[in-house]
Subunit: 157 residues, 2 copies
DNA sequence: AGCAACAAGTTACAATTGCAACCATTCGGC
DNA sequence: GCCGAATGGTTGCAATTGTAACTTGTTGCT
């Protein structure tokens, strides 16, 4: 039995960009984001940060801005700006917590609800189509891999 | 035998952001990019676009700017800017094709080579660590899934 | 040869993002 | 109760990025 040679995929430290996972993840994620942005941003005048805020408030009403930030993986500045423009467009209503007057309490307005109920199916349809060629096992694997990698990347930060 | 109920994962068109693949991909990709940028951008004063250009020219010398753009999935403006700053830092050498004087011919300078040979191992080490907890089968699956999804997303663009 | 269409690359400008400093309010110790 | 630290949120500024228009050079057609 001989010593194993270096694994076939690539040589010692020559890096092939087109095989480099961080690069490929970034390209994929960009492509998907751009597709999605085209789908709803253009039709509903919604940016991706705005869409995230909308989506999270549709599901969990009455969140404060930092809570929205936690659930959308955005920083508080990004949330503040998205909230601002959603308020301008009358898609959100903001009140303040009487116990703690720093905290905002955010809810969708009727119009915000309506936008959400029209956009969410588009988003889900896009996702469905994106995943359409994957077997159920592949979908499960994808799900798990993303979770695992995110955890791992989070630890390495 | 009864009619199958809606599949367990989520209800009709209520969208859970935290389960939405495009969202999760974006969060993951961002996290990874930020980690990597910290690792080499800070130490070598390299932005991610610059790094991509460097990496692709290390492997395929003598490319023109548009060829670099194709291989890095960047647009030609981004390449132009990255090339400009790499030229300023004396990490690239640019000549022009004598057959077609519009086309640039880009190569790493000695200093560019040296940066590359120091950065590439860091990048590979990061990737290795990121994937360290995945089984070989998982790694293969990840590889395949990214490719499949990118193709798919490309078609939908 | 002359000119329209096209390709390579750059530049200018607008929109987006990221970061740091900043108010206002609340909390924790004393 | 008071003061320093911490928290929620906003604002301003610089850096990054995207888009369109432009310049220079080439090609193909006549």
């Amino acid at each position: 039995m001989t010593i194993k040679k270096t694994s076939g995929r690539r040589t010692a430290d020559k890096l092939h960009l087109e095989q480099f996972i961080p690069f490929r993840l970034s390209v994929l994620s960009n492509l998907v984001s751009i597709n999605i942005a085209r789908a709803y941003a253009r039709e509903f005048d919604l940016s991706i940060p705005e869409w995230r805020v909308l989506a999270v408030l549709a599901r969990y009403p009455q969140l404060s801005a930092v809570e929205v930030a936690e659930r959308t993986a955005m920083d508080k500045v990004a949330v503040s700006r998205a909230v601002q423009s959603l308020l301008n467009a009358r898609r959100l209503v903001r009140t303040y917590d009487s116990e703690d007057r720093r905290r905002s309490v955010l809810r969708l307005s009727t119009s915000g609800q309506s936008v959400y109920t029209r956009v969410a199916p588009l988003a889900l349809a896009y996702e469905k189509k994106l995943l359409a060629t994957l077997s159920p096992a592949d979908r499960q694997a994808l799900d798990r891999l993303i979770t695992q990698l995110s955890t791992r990347a989070g630890l390495m930060a």
